[in-house]
Every structure is written in structure tokens, then in C-alpha cells.
């Protein structure tokens, strides 16, 4: 047999790394936001101040980090806040957000849709309806085209 069939080390080489035309996404690895603070939000939900919990949960979204655990944790906290809202409180909460806040909320809503649980779908659909009324189709397009996801 020929000599070059003995070693299979070449199979571990990723030739795409050497492609000079390869697209390198120059994402600036900015400050890694660690996501919202779980305990503080839990306290706020317990005392019934869902609006402040909501605003806190949407602060510091972990958009830049590549660590999935951070993103999962942030998502869990946001979903906890969203599901603890009463239906009548949803609309004023959405109204209190600015444009980028609505976009961020839409991102979380769609992430929440990915794993439906017993009572999350109904409330998420209500959130979606209210956020859509403010953000329009553009906010959904931005969820689909966003390169930095929550």
C-alpha cells in the first residue's frame, strides 16, 4: 500500500480554516452582559411589582456572549417575568418600552416559543400580540435577521 494511506491525521484538519476567502465576521466582542439578576427579580415578582421586574429583566441582555448557559439563564428569568404578568397589565408594559426594547422583547418572545410549556404559550401569544401592535412586522423581521441573539 502507498505510504500516505497509513496516517489518517489529515482527516482532523479543517481545510475551511485555510480558505483565504472565508468570511470572518468581525463581531466586536463588546462587554459581555451577564443577563438580569435573578434573585432581585424574584423578590419583585413576589411583592407584585411586575413592571419593575419587567424592566429589570430586559436590561443587560446577553447579546454578545457565546456562552449558552448565560443565555439560557437570562431567558429563563425573562420568561418567569413574562408569565407572571396578568393579561391586563401586558399592554401598558409594552407601551413603556422604546423601539429597541420592543425588538428585544420580541426576541425573547420567539425564544420562549421555541420550548412551549404548560402555561407559557397562551401568555406569550398575548405578549406577542401587544408587541406586534407596537413594533409591527419590522420588529419580527429584526428577530429573524438579528446576528446577535438572546
Amino acid at each position: 500500500m502507498a505510504k500516505n494511506t497509513l496516517s489518517s491525521r489529515f482527516r482532523k484538519l479543517d481545510i475551511d480554516e485555510f480558505d483565504e476567502n472565508k468570511f470572518i465576521d468581525d463581531h466586536d466582542e463588546a462587554v459581555d452582559n451577564q443577563g438580569p439578576d435573578g434573585t432581585e427579580i424574584e423578590n419583585l415578582i413576589r411583592i407584585g411589582d411586575t413592571m419593575t421586574a419587567f424592566h429589570l429583566a430586559l436590561r443587560n441582555p446577553p447579546l454578545n456572549t457565546k456562552n449558552p448557559a448565560v443565555k439560557e439563564r437570562a431567558l429563563a428569568i425573562v420568561l418567569r417575568v413574562l408569565t407572571s404578568f396578568k393579561s391586563s397589565d401586558i399592554e401598558p408594559a409594552v407601551k413603556s418600552l422604546d423601539r429597541s426594547g420592543v425588538d428585544l422583547l420580541m426576541k425573547y418572545i420567539y425564544r420562549g416559543f421555541e420550548k412551549p410549556s404548560d402555561n407559557s404559550s397562551a401568555i406569550l401569544l398575548q405578549w406577542h400580540e401587544k408587541a406586534f401592535a407596537v413594533g409591527g412586522l419590522g420588529s419580527i423581521v429584526r428577530v429573524l435577521t438579528a446576528r446577535k441573539t438572546v
Partner: protein
């Protein structure tokens, strides 16, 4: 607002001649058709058959009366009218992917072609060899160039690309012109960059060349003022300045939208939806229809509108200024995937839509 349906196929691209009596368009195939206006009717007078692939860009130079076309067959042709016939001249672009957009420079001594080969070809005519020569702009473009617009100084070129950026390049060719003076885009040759979140579909300089706006696939309109406007509409595919302070953009929502560029506040804001307001007939809805609506659409709403309310019935892919230039546009035209062309009159839009103010 006149709507004219040319064909059933989408209009891939179009361009007008100098006095706006003729339009060259591509009906989604390998040809270019030239239609001439006779009153309110349009008759086809020429068919330009040379491309082997879909024609993706057409530009008609108003002064020199030459048409440049580019297509997915990686070629560009410059057509000159000899008598009654348009004769093509092949331009070798040296690209290995489809050409996507083409634009004559303001002085019409060169043209730029954006392509999928991640470069822009700047082509100029060399007298000694009687041949079109092209130079490439490669760095730092990382993906397909979707849209181009020339600055009025004939040297700067804005390019929007699929690598999410809009850039201003210098397309200075020393063989055909002198060095240009400084502009707001930097006195040295390159250039500025603006980053977005989606493919940059349309880019446009204002008439003076001091302002630049572009639309992106994440439903935003951005300008050199660096604050982007997130729109509530579907992504916009094309944009044009109609005055120094107003832009019109159109896209997948099938109607043009007005934006106001405010230099003092440093922002671009939504100005209004430009479309003919539809008169809805107020007829009562029968009980049977109410239940039918509930069954089909889960709402028992009054409207039995099945289609779109806008003039265009499918996405608008290109917008061009007809009269008045980019500083005081009085008419502009849109073509789209429904095969139709609409000419919009700015004065009547202002009077029809009450809240609209074109500054």
C-alpha cells in the same frame, strides 16, 4: 398616480431615457425591452437580445444616450443607438459570479458594476484600444454588492453589500479625470463605513452628495447620521432622495414610504405612507358572511378585502426619479415584481394625503 401593467412577469430592473419618453426594462428574462410612450399607451419598439442570463441592472445615460446592462451571465454590454438599432459592445468585467447592479457615473465617462464576486468593477473607455477596460475594487468587501450610487463629483461611489455594510469608495481613474476636491467623506481617497444588521439593499446619495442613506434587510433605514431608524414595515429594497431632506423608500410592503432626514436633529424619521387612499365601501355584512369569516379567518371583521390595498400588488424593487432630480423631485416611478410601473406625482401626493409634508 398612473399604474401601468407592462407584463405578468416581474420587472427586474428599469431605466428611463433623458426626456422620459422611453423606458428600458427587463421582463425577468435574458432580454431588455424598450417601450415608447404614445400618449397614455406604451408600445415596444426595441428588443435588446444579447445576454445569456437574467439582466440584473440597466442604466440609460441621459446625455450620451448609451445604455449599459449587466446580467447573471457575468457580462456587461454598452449599447449605442446606430440609426434605428441598438448595437452592443461587450465589456469584460473579469468577474466569476453574476453582476448585480450597474450605474453610469454623473459625467458618463465610466460606470460601476456590483457583483457576486465581492467586488466592484469600474469600467472606462480607453480611446487607444477602442475598448472598455475595468478596474476592480476588492478590499474590504466581503460579500455580494447589491446596490451602488455615485456621488455628484464623479469619483466617490457608495456601495451597499451583503456583508451588512454600506461603504463609500473612491473610484478615481486617473486616465479619465483629474483629482477631485475634498468632500465631507474625507479629503484622502477612502472612505467611510456604516454597519447594519442586514443586507444593504438600496443606497442613495442626496443631490449635493453630502448625505447618504441606505436601507437594510432588517427593516431599518440608516443614514450617515449614524442613528438608524427601525421601521415597522417589511424590509425596504430601494431608496431615493427626493429633496435634500426627504427620502422615499419602497420594498416588500408594496407601497412607498416617506422619511424625513433632519440634519439639525441628527435623525431620520418616518414621514408617512405614500399610497392612494382607498375608498372602502360601507356595505353591511350579512350573517352568513360573518360566520364564513369566522370560519376562514377567525375574525368576523367588516372588511372583505382579499387583496392588498396598495397600487402595486407585489414587492417594489426599484425606484427612479423622473422629473426634478434628487433635489426637487416632482415625479418618481416605481417598478416591482407584479410587472407594473407606477408614476407618482409628488404634488398630488401632498394634497391627497393630508398629514404629509415634504420638506
Amino acid at each position: 398616480m398612473a399604474y401601468h401593467s407592462f407584463l405578468l412577469e416581474p420587472i427586474s430592473c428599469h431605466s428611463w431615457n433623458k426626456d422620459r419618453t422611453q423606458i428600458a426594462l427587463c421582463p425577468n428574462n435574458h432580454d431588455v425591452h424598450i417601450y415608447k410612450k404614445d400618449g397614455t399607451k406604451w408600445t415596444k419598439i426595441h428588443e435588446l437580445k444579447e445576454h445569456n442570463g437574467q439582466v440584473t441592472g440597466i442604466d440609460w445615460a441621459p446625455e450620451s444616450n448609451r445604455i449599459v446592462t449587466c446580467g447573471t451571465d457575468r457580462n456587461a454590454y454598452v449599447w449605442s443607438l446606430k440609426g434605428e438599432v441598438w448595437k452592443p459592445t461587450l465589456v469584460i468585467l473579469r468577474i466569476n459570479r453574476a453582476a448585480r447592479c450597474v450605474s453610469w457615473s454623473p459625467k458618463e465617462n465610466k460606470f460601476a458594476v456590483g457583483s457576486g464576486s465581492r467586488l466592484i468593477s469600474i469600467c472606462y473607455f480607453e480611446q487607444e484600444n477602442d475598448w472598455w477596460v475595468c478596474k476592480h475594487i476588492k478590499k474590504p468587501i466581503r460579500s455580494t454588492v447589491l446596490s451602488l450610487d455615485w456621488h455628484p463629483n464623479n469619483v466617490l461611489l457608495a456601495a451597499g453589500s451583503c456583508d451588512f455594510k454600506c461603504r463609500v469608495f473612491s473610484a478615481y481613474i486617473k486616465e479619465v479625470e483629474e483629482k477631485p476636491g475634498p468632500t465631507v467623506w474625507g479629503s484622502k481617497m477612502p472612505f467611510g463605513e456604516g454597519a447594519g444588521g442586514g443586507w444593504v439593499h438600496g443606497v442613495c446619495f442626496s443631490h449635493s452628495g453630502n448625505r447618504l442613506a441606505w436601507t437594510s434587510h432588517d427593516s431599518t433605514v440608516q443614514s450617515d447620521l449614524s442613528v438608524s431608524l427601525s421601521s415597522e414595515t417589511l424590509p425596504l429594497l430601494c431608496v431615493s432622495f427626493i429633496t435634500e431632506n426627504s427620502l422615499v423608500a419602497a420594498g416588500h410592503d408594496c407601497y412607498p414610504v416617506l422619511f424625513v432626514y433632519d440634519g439639525t436633529k441628527g435623525s431620520v424619521t418616518f414621514g408617512g405612507k405614500l399610497d392612494v387612499p382607498k375608498q372602502t365601501s360601507q356595505r353591511g355584512i350579512s350573517a352568513r358572511e360573518r360566520f364564513q369569516n369566522l370560519d376562514r379567518r377567525a375574525t368576523s371583521s367588516e372588511t372583505t378585502e382579499q387583496g392588498l390595498e396598495s397600487l402595486h400588488k407585489n414587492s417594489i424593487s426599484q425606484i427612479s426619479v423622473l422629473e426634478g432630480g434628487k433635489s426637487k423631485c416632482s415625479t418618481f416611478c416605481t417598478t416591482g415584481m407584479d410587472g407594473g410601473m407606477v408614476t407618482w406625482d409628488v404634488k398630488s401626493l401632498e394634497s391627497d394625503l393630508k398629514d404629509l409634508k415634504i420638506v
